[in-house]
Amino acid sequence: MTTLELLSEAVASGKSKDAKALVQRALDEGTAPVEIVDRALVPAMASVGEQFKNNLIFVPEMLIAARAMKEAMSLLEPKLLAAGITPKYTAVIGTVQGDLHDIGKNLVAIMWKGANFRVIDLGTNVSPAKFVAAVVEHKAQLVGLSALLTTTMPAIVETVKAIRGGVGQAVKIMVGGAPVTQQFADEIGADGYAPDAGSAVDRAQALVGAA
């Protein structure tokens, strides 16, 4: 196996130390940082995401892979930054105002990062204005709104309105969370809906044209 293949395997199986060492070896072998990302790290996380989506692995297993990816990236990021290379797509994500639930939102954030999105996580109980400001500031192509309470679904509506009022159709809006349905997403003019974290990556990539 090549170094990149070994690296990919190390990340997918969550071996942080091995991953870091293999990144160093690949760099030593003269592989360009962007190639290490595109040919080893992103495919590794894509495969992990796929296994997760198909219920072959659980969240903790995905999380250790994500951690290995992060370790690997810690060596690469300064070099990519120096070369002016950043992820192609930026996503803003948060739980809407009045709602504190973040498990689903956190999972989606992790999976988007694995798919090489830059993810700005605004946390929970986020006001519409804060969403709009973040989309503008980070030039996001995608924004993800999450809610778990039925009492906070109106806050999704308000947030969608605020984003459309602020930046129009320029940003794709995805919504999710236990009480949200495709029908609700359609009605409020969101661009996408994902019933679970597993399908949120495909949907996001399709929306921004990365699929």
Partner: protein
């Protein structure tokens, strides 16, 4: 509190005089020994729906745990926000819910019903909102009692808003004060059963679930949660006594049920969720150590374990709570129910009527069936219990740890432990052992990709220190200090 001094057949007292301010500040940072040292129900065959050694008699004469299962109806608003502007509409919903559902209860001649009012966050944040609804519900219940003799009791469950501060402030401040205000006002207005789904420790527990980290699970629940509940329930029971109400019970909803739902979504292994459930019994037990008398909160699937330990009646929910969440415990949960609940349903229209009324009907028929079996005597009730248990037990690890034998084993492991930390550890070990044995014996199905977690959980437990102090030190070093305030737990 000397538990052996509690009389069998607790009756809701007329009134009291203590005040919430009079509770002396205690140092909950030190290890507290468990108060229950033996099981109130030591034999598996005495663990039975509708039957508790220490039943609760309500003001209007429901005898919960006294030989009959009552429906416990829960409901919530359709999708809408709650604010001063929408309160007239909110009030109309609750007025409609209570009159329609109780009319049906009367028609079906239910022997009594518990109504649970679980608030949404804005109703705790603005207690006047919550109290307006409490009064609407009490009026509806009184009207039903006068017009067709329907007996009922109101369970009041304010949403625990303390986690709205991040990190959560547990013992003071706006969220705490408004919640206490709502408890006080509700008890004064006539809510008889005070309950809460308390959230102490949840701020670390969510991540512990995601990582399947048993050390952090036990730290969140048996160190943080236990200390928060001791603080909280001392005060709730003072409020209850002052107004002739009772502290009913708590639930590890945000812990055990979050794990269960994540397992249903295939996010985390079912075997892990099963062990989390066993651990959660230690946390929820604390309310009974500090004066709660049952019925325990419906969504606490750890309640059978607590019934065995305390002898108190328990609310349970199962298949007829599918409106609120799917579960692998649809029938087995009924095996221990003293009230039988639908957990929560929105006031939306189904073809058959408004959803709360439809669910009241379903609960009423479920209870009729259990009460027929109970009415024939112990052997018949045990026959029905056997079917309810066997229906689910072999198909899911979370169900398996709720078999009567598992319940007694875990309950015994808990009361034999010297303190809450070691009780959590013992509960986890016991649950794990029972899962392994049942799977090895071919009595329990565990899917292959979960099997590895049985050993990894055991390894995790082996790495935890014996002494609580060492454990706390170890786990605090691992927890994200930005997420919680140790001093809010007396640490």
């Amino acid at each position: 509190m000397n538990t052996s001094a509690i009389p069998a057949g607790e009756t809701i007292p007329g009134d009291g005089s203590a005040s919430v301010q009079s509770v002396a500040k205690a140092n909950f940072g030190v290890s507290v020994p468990l108060k229950f040292r033996e099981l109130a129900i030591p034999r598996a065959d005495d663990l039975l729906f509708g039957t508790a050694p220490r039943p609760l008699v309500t003001r209007h004469g429901l005898r919960i745990g006294g030989g009959m299962v009552y429906p416990e109806l829960n409901f919530t608003l359709p999708t809408m926000d709650v604010s001063a502007a929408t309160m007239p509409l909110v009030a109309r919903h609750y007025r409609e819910i209570i009159s329609d559902a109780l009319r049906r209860a009367g028609e079906l001649e239910v022997p009594g019903v518990v109504i649970e009012f679980e608030t949404v966050p804005p109703m705790t944040a603005t207690p006047a909102f919550g109290l307006e609804i409490v009064n609407i519900l009490l009026e509806g219940m009184e009207a039903a009692r006068q017009s067709h003799g329907l007996r009922s009791a109101l369970r009041m469950t304010p949403n625990d808003n303390r986690e709205f501060a991040r990190p959560p402030v547990m013992r003071s401040g706006e969220y705490w004060e408004r919640m206490v205000e709502l408890f006080e006002g509700s008890a004064e207005a006539g809510a008889e059963l005070l309950s809460i789904e308390s959230v102490g420790g949840k701020e670390l527990h969510d991540e512990a679930l995601m990582n399947c980290d048993l050390g952090q699970v036990i730290f969140s629940q048996c160190v943080l949660g236990v200390r928060d509940m001791a603080f909280l329930w001392e005060r709730l029971c003072v409020i209850a006594r002052a107004h002739g109400a009772v502290g009913a019970g708590d639930t590890a909803c945000g812990f055990g049920n979050t794990a269960m739902v994540l397992a249903e979504q295939k996010m985390i292994p079912r075997v892990f969720a099963a062990v989390v459930r066993a651990i959660s019994a230690v946390r929820t037990l604390v309310c009974y150590e500090h004066g709660a008398v049952g019925p325990g909160k419906d969504c606490g699937y750890e309640n059978p374990i607590l019934k065995a330990i305390t002898g108190r009646p328990m609310a349970m929910e199962g298949k007829t709570a599918a409106c609120a969440h799917l579960s692998p415990l649809g029938n087995i949960a009924a095996a221990y129910a003293d009230t039988w609940s639908n957990e929560s349903v929105q006031n939306i229209k189904l073809l058959g009527g408004m959803a709360p009324t439809c669910y009241l009907e379903q609960l009423a028929y479920d209870c009729r069936l259990m009460n027929r079996a109970l009415g024939e005597g112990r052997e018949s009730a045990l026959t029905l219990r056997r079917w309810l248990v066997d229906s689910d037990a072999g198909l899911d690890p979370q169900a398996w740890i709720l078999t009567p034998e598992s319940v007694i084993a875990i309950a015994t492991a808990i009361v034999d432990a010297p303190d809450h930390y070691r009780a959590g550890l013992a509960a986890a070990r016991c649950a794990l052992r029972r899962l392994k044995e049942a799977h090895a014996g071919g009595r329990l199905k565990i899917v292959p990709r979960e099997l590895g977690f049985l050993d990894s959980m055991e390894r995790q437990l082996d790495e935890l220190p014996d002494a609580e102090g060492d454990f706390i030190e170890q786990q605090m070093a691992l927890a994200d200090p930005a997420k919680y305030l140790p001093e809010e737990y007396g640490l």
